[in-house]
């Protein structure tokens, strides 16, 4: 079908008026111009953030990226803590979300009765439509108290006693912190990963699955032996898409992460991410100050991070998810 479309339809014969011809040229260039505009827009965002962050890179050099100092009084700024928080919360969110998303996608493609697939699928996708700030509020007023009273004390008493990994779960149960932020992020990216996985699972040719069933395989064996190998690359692409979203989420994280500019070993400790730090401190930065430049430099770093992740995701998904 796309083959036929590529060979563009024959140009209409020149009419005496030629008005259609001029209209064609104008319209085509309007469309192409809009396309080029979008291209320039992305380029402008990257260049603009880099230029704006340049004073910070000049002042602190490449060490800006790993320096963990953030001292507005001394005018010393480093990106280390917020990059650490961004990466840790995003990765932890992926670890929490992927198994659940896989279960949902598996349920929706193979297990659920047909009449139930659409309503459940829609409900999960609506989860993706809820704005970030609502997750933040819900997290702040519902999840944080629940974590502080029930979940964190339990985890501290049990997992905190373990050798080697126990330190991750020690500390005071404030309810806020890195772990809570990851938890909220996991819920937010869950529908994206589940929807992508479902879409790619549905594209496995039925005949492959039927032949495996014909051999007497169970549903799980068909999943493990046929569907997952067939869709592996796209599944990873879907997970990367979720990771890209988790890296840049702002409002939800800002509400629950505790916002502290230090790295605590414990997952229950407070922290910050690039996005939450920028959202919180931007208002308190003077125009032209080194602090503002540092925040914009952080924005540039975040853009580079998410660009790499999202581009990889698109590359992996390109073959399967054309639509």
């Amino acid at each position: 079908m796309s083959q036929a479309a590529t060979a563009s339809p024959p140009a209409p014969a020149r009419t005496a008026r030629g008005a259609g011809n001029l209209g064609d040229i104008i319209f085509e260039w309007a469309c192409r111009g809009a396309g080029i505009f979008v291209l320039l827009l992305l380029g402008a965002i990257i260049v603009e953030l880099f230029i704006a962050g340049l004073p910070a890179f000049r002042a602190f050099g490449i060490g800006f990226i790993w320096s963990t100092e953030w001292d507005p009084v001394q005018e010393v700024f480093g990106a280390g803590v917020s990059i650490y928080g961004t990466v840790v919360t995003a990765v932890l969110a992926i670890l929490l979300a992927v198994p659940v998303a896989f279960g949902i996608a598996f349920y929706l493609t193979e297990l659920a009765p047909v009449w139930l697939r659409r309503p459940v699928g829609t409900a999960v996708e609506l989860l993706a439509a809820v704005p970030s700030i609502i997750y933040g509020m819900w997290g702040f007023f519902v999840i944080v108290p629940a974590f502080a009273t029930y979940i964190q004390p339990t985890l501290i008493d049990t997992l905190g006693e373990l050798p080697l990994v126990g330190f991750l779960f020690q500390g005071a149960p404030f309810g806020t912190g890195i772990f809570t932020a990851s938890f909220i992020l996991a819920i937010m990216i869950l529908p994206f990963i589940a929807a992508t996985m479902r879409d790619v699972f549905e594209q496995v040719p039925p005949v492959y699955k039927e032949s495996a069933y014909g051999l007497g395989a169970t549903t799980w064996e068909v999943m493990r032996g046929v569907v997952i190998p067939y869709t592996r690359v796209s599944v990873v692409g879907g997970i990367m898409l979720g990771l890209g979203r988790a890296l840049g989420e702002t409002m939800a994280v800002t509400f629950v992460i505790g916002n502290a500019n230090r790295i605590t070993g414990s997952l229950f400790g407070p922290g910050n991410t690039i996005a939450s730090l920028v959202a919180l401190e931007f208002g308190e930065s003077e125009t032209g100050s080194l602090k503002l430049a540092s925040l914009l430099a952080l924005g540039f770093i975040l853009f580079v991070l998410s660009f790499i992740v999202l581009a990889t995701s698109r590359y992996l998904l390109r073959s399967r998810l054309k639509a």
Partner: protein, 297 residues
């Protein structure tokens, strides 16, 4: 039933019926366990959605009254509402969509009608997909750099610009998808009648894809209605009544952000009311978009 299946994976005496039966039972059990886990996973997803909605309905309706819609924000303890935030949100979302939609439609048309396989088309498609998932806070920072700094202050227009940038890729995606679905025979028929290509696109292709394009616009409105981060650095928020787009402007998400973190009971209640308003409109827009699209198929 399936005793002879995994010839390669089962060492051991395949002919022994006892072993084969035990193996079959084990495989069935594994299958059952996974099935149960998957149902649980789906239940978890649905429980979160239910928890968010019930919390919002419970706390939101509690705080909802006429004053929310008739009064502007006021200091804690003095009977304020959200009128200025609601109006600000409506203005900025409407203008952002109005500016972003035509650009997005043209780009989508370019991708579907002029550049399906061309190199530039592929790059534009890729860039638009990146913009679709890029962190929205960065768009706020960008607009701050190009509109707020040079023009000397936070303004409603800057907020509108940030939202328009967020609208574009959403509309691009649906426009392209919907135009790609139109059969080529239709295009050939129109061109065969001697119509110029632009007329074919505008009067035939766009018209047939209209319900899909409207879906995209609805989804875009839903998306920008809840955006907060990009507005922090552009329209900033405003506690007073203002419809002047050259001044800082309030909006519901910013009001929620400011009020939810405050220590005052009545402000927190207003934040819940605002959250309920936003979520209801976003979910309604999404459901509406789905209905429009399904009517087409």
């Amino acid at each position: 039933m399936s005793m002879t299946l995994s010839a390669g994976t089962v060492p051991g005496p395949r002919k022994d019926p006892e072993v084969a039966l035990a193996l079959g039972r084990r495989r069935k059990r594994a299958d059952l366990v996974i099935r149960i886990l998957c149902v649980l996973a789906t239940a978890i997803g649905l429980i979160f959605l239910a928890s968010i909605l019930t919390t919002l309905f419970y706390r939101g309706f509690e705080a909802m009254n006429l004053r929310v819609f008739t009064h502007v924000m006021a200091p804690p303890g003095s009977e304020g509402g959200l009128l200025n935030a609601i109006v600000g949100s409506l203005i900025q979302a409407a203008l952002g969509t109005a500016i972003g939609t035509p650009i997005g439609m043209l780009v989508g048309t370019y991708l579907a009608e002029y550049a399906r396989e061309s190199k530039l088309g592929n790059i534009v498609r890729f860039v638009s997909d990146i913009l679709l998932s890029a962190p929205s806070i960065l768009i706020g920072l960008f607009v701050y750099q190009i509109l707020v700094l040079p023009f000397g202050g936070f303004s409603g227009w800057a907020g509108v610009a940030a939202l328009a940038i967020i609208v574009i890729p959403v509309v691009v995606r649906t426009t392209e998808d919907m135009l790609t679905l139109i059969p080529n025979t239709l295009r050939e028929a129109v061109i065969g009648l001697g119509s110029p290509k632009w007329k074919m696109i505008v009067f035939v292709c766009w018209k047939s894809a209209m319900s899909g394009i409207i879906t995209g616009i609805l989804l875009a409105v839903a998306r920008v209605a809840g955006e907060t981060a990009p507005l922090l650095f552009t329209s900033l928020g405003n506690n007073a009544w203002s419809t002047d787009l050259t001044k800082p402007m309030s909006s519901l998400p910013l009001a929620i952000y400011a009020f939810a973190g405050s220590p005052f009971e009545d402000w927190i209640a207003l934040a819940w009311a605002g959250a309920l308003l936003i979520t209801l409109s976003v979910l309604l827009l999404n459901i509406l978009a789905r209905t429009v699209l399904r009517g087409r198929k």
